[in-house]
């Protein structure tokens, strides 16, 4: 019945969805933002710790959401640790392209963590599900808002 949903809901996603890594509010952090997807009721909070070297020392999140958004948030936390903010942004840009555009339309976001990009491939299935793109990108929008000092991110305003 659901054959073509297996592309979207791959094992990795179901696993991260059920057992999200780096879940829960940490004791200490120095950047945070709340992300809101009014479309499905998802609300997540991302907690960032920027180290004295300017790199991301820790990322955690909490909140609830669908399998896609939880998995995306969980995967994101795993791959941002140790990155410079601008590396994180580049990864977000490339990931956003992956979720929304055909490969030939991806823009150049500078040098990327290829291993991270490979892992993020599991989420690229959302491209076939336009209504689910926001689920996949919510955590990233929120992380980006936290980096820029915005308290709230909403995917709702990013297009319709």
């Amino acid at each position: 019945m659901f054959d073509d949903l297996r592309d979207l809901y791959q094992e990795v996603i179901l696993d991260h969805g059920k057992n999200p890594r780096n879940f829960g509010k940490p004791d200490g952090f120095n950047r945070t933002a709340r992300g809101d997807n009014p479309m499905c009721g998802d609300k997540i909070t991302v907690y960032l710790t920027l180290g004295s070297d300017g790199r991301i020392a820790d990322v955690r999140f909490d909140g609830r959401g669908c399998a896609i958004s939880q998995a995306s948030a969980s995967l994101m936390t795993e791959m941002l640790k140790g990155k410079e903010p601008k590396e994180a942004e580049a990864l977000f840009g490339a990931f956003h392209d992956m979720c929304t555009k055909d490969e030939e339309e991806w823009t150049d976001h500078g040098p990327l963590d290829e291993e991270a990009m490979d892992k993020l491939q599991v989420l690229s299935g959302v491209r076939e599900f336009p209504m689910r793109v926001k689920c996949a990108t919510l955590a990233w929008h929120t992380m980006n808002a936290a980096l820029h000092g915005d308290p709230v991110a909403s995917t709702e305003n990013a297009g319709f």
Binding site: M1, F2, D4, L5, L8, Y9, L14, K18, P38, M39, C40, G41, D42, K43, R64, G65, C66, A67, I68, Q70, F129, M131, R132, C135
Partner: protein
């Protein structure tokens, strides 16, 4: 009772005849379509259970709108030429039909708006700004749609009214004790509560609520958006001062809604929007306005939409709202029972009197994921907050899955929903 013209047989059918849902379905062209067709894979038959968001349209409505445009269209009112007269007659006939549908005393009680949302904004800005002052209480409930929340918040920011909220009991019923207490203890000037909840299905005892409100000198506004579609409604029997609904949920077009108001209430309300058609005379110094309902209808009205709504009302009244209600109640009972087979499934909203709306959640699977899965099986349900975020908070859920039934739905479709949900559960293991 006569059946709508689009039904196939010529034999008159009385309301005692059993409700023939298969014949009704033939009136709705979209119901025969397949969804998710792809090359090499056949599509799935559409199972449309998103009626509370918007209903599908019968052939009679589609044809009434096309027919108007093919034969009789022009701008209405104030035109002396043939088409303008035709168009005006066809459009204004719907005011009579709406009056009859609601058992309003007269066509003059019927204001056409853009949708239900605009009707609430009209009341908030016109009635609210005139009759409410700082500290006056508008009494809402936790089961309101955003359309009946946000306009009052905007008014609150402008004028300092107070918003108080009647709680909802665990089964999804309105807390009537709290309602009565609020009327007794607060300076309630307006009760603005839904007749039927778009999430819980709960049908509120509006007659009793209006009586209590009037005993305490409050005006009452009911949101009939989910009520008129499922049952006969009589605004005089209810004794509603103001009553709102939206055409697209009543098998009619988008772009038109209805505000019913008692004559004295409408007469006391100043215009909302200004423009053509709602004025008597205009100079730059001074403009005089027409009487209600025309005073509230600025600019070119929703002509095509009015004609479509008229056809929709003809359609549902020919089927009979009693018959529709009986059919949907059977479906509701059946679907509820079948959904209860599914372990971990929680139905939110189990009030004794309900419209055919079932909101549910499933342990461990997010509604959004359920929505995507059942959609692939051809089943259209709505997932999310249903424009009722405070109610979601009340029940401690971020979102729900909502199956809402209409006059053309069948038990087999309820089965399809149940099977799709079961398969989804199996997938997530």
């Amino acid at each position: 009772m006569t059946r709508p013209a689009t039904l196939l047989s010529d034999a008159p059918v009385t309301s005692n005849a059993p409700y023939d849902v298969e014949r009704v379905r033939q009136d709705f062209p979209i119901l025969t379509r397949l969804v998710h067709e792809r090359k090499g894979r056949p599509g799935k038959p559409l199972v449309y259970l998103d009626n509370a968001a918007s209903a599908q349209k019968p052939r009679a409505v589609i044809d009434a709108m096309s027919g108007l445009l093919e034969r009789d269209y022009a701008n209405v009112h104030r035109g002396v030429h043939f088409l303008s007269q035709r168009s005006t007659d066809l459009y204004e006939a719907t005011r009579d039909k709406v009056a009859k549908l609601l058992n309003a005393p007269s066509r003059e009680n019927i204001v056409f708006t853009r949708n239900a949302t605009e009707a609430f904004n009209l009341v908030a800005q016109s009635w609210g700004r005139t009759f409410l002052k700082t500290g006056d209480v508008v009494l809402l409930s936790y089961m309101e749609h955003h359309a009946n929340i946000v306009p009052w918040q905007l008014l609150r920011d402008q004028t300092g009214i107070r918003i108080e909220v009647v709680p909802v009991l665990d089964d999804g019923s309105l807390d009537l004790d709290a309602y009565e207490k609020a009327l007794k203890t607060l300076a309630v000037k307006l009760v603005a509560i839904t007749h039927s909840s778009n999430v819980l299905g709960t049908v509120n005892p509006v007659r009793q609520m209006a009586r209590l409100a009037h005993e305490h000198g409050a005006t009452v506004l009911f949101d009939g958006s989910q009520a008129v579609v499922h049952r006969p409604v009589d605004v005089q029997a209810i004794d509603a001062d103001l009553y709102v609904f939206t055409a697209h949920k009543l098998y009619g077009p988008t772009g038109i809604g209805v505000l019913y108001g008692k004559k004295a209430v409408l007469d006391a309300m100043p215009p909302y929007q200004g423009g053509g058609d709602m004025i008597s005379t205009v100079t730059f110094e001074k403009t005089t306005f027409r009487e209600a309902p025309y005073r509230f209808e600025a600019g070119t009205p929703p002509i095509i939409e009015g004609v479509g709504l008229g056809a929709a009302i003809d359609y549902v009244t020919a089927l009979g709202l009693d018959a529709i209600q009986a059919h949907e109640q059977r479906l509701l009972a059946y679907a509820t029972e079948r959904l209860r087979e599914i372990e971990g499934l929680r139905i939110i909203g189990t009030a004794p009197e309900k419209a055919a709306i079932i909101s549910f959640t499933i342990d461990g699977i997010h509604p959004h994921d359920i929505g995507t899965f059942v959609d692939r099986a051809g089943v259209a349900v709505r997932v999310g907050r249903h424009c009722a975020e405070p109610l979601m908070d009340r029940f401690g859920v971020g979102a729900t899955c909502r199956a809402s039934f209409g006059l053309y739905n069948t038990e087999a479709e309820a089965d399809a929903l149940v099977e799709a949900v079961k398969a989804t559960k199996a997938f997530f293991g």
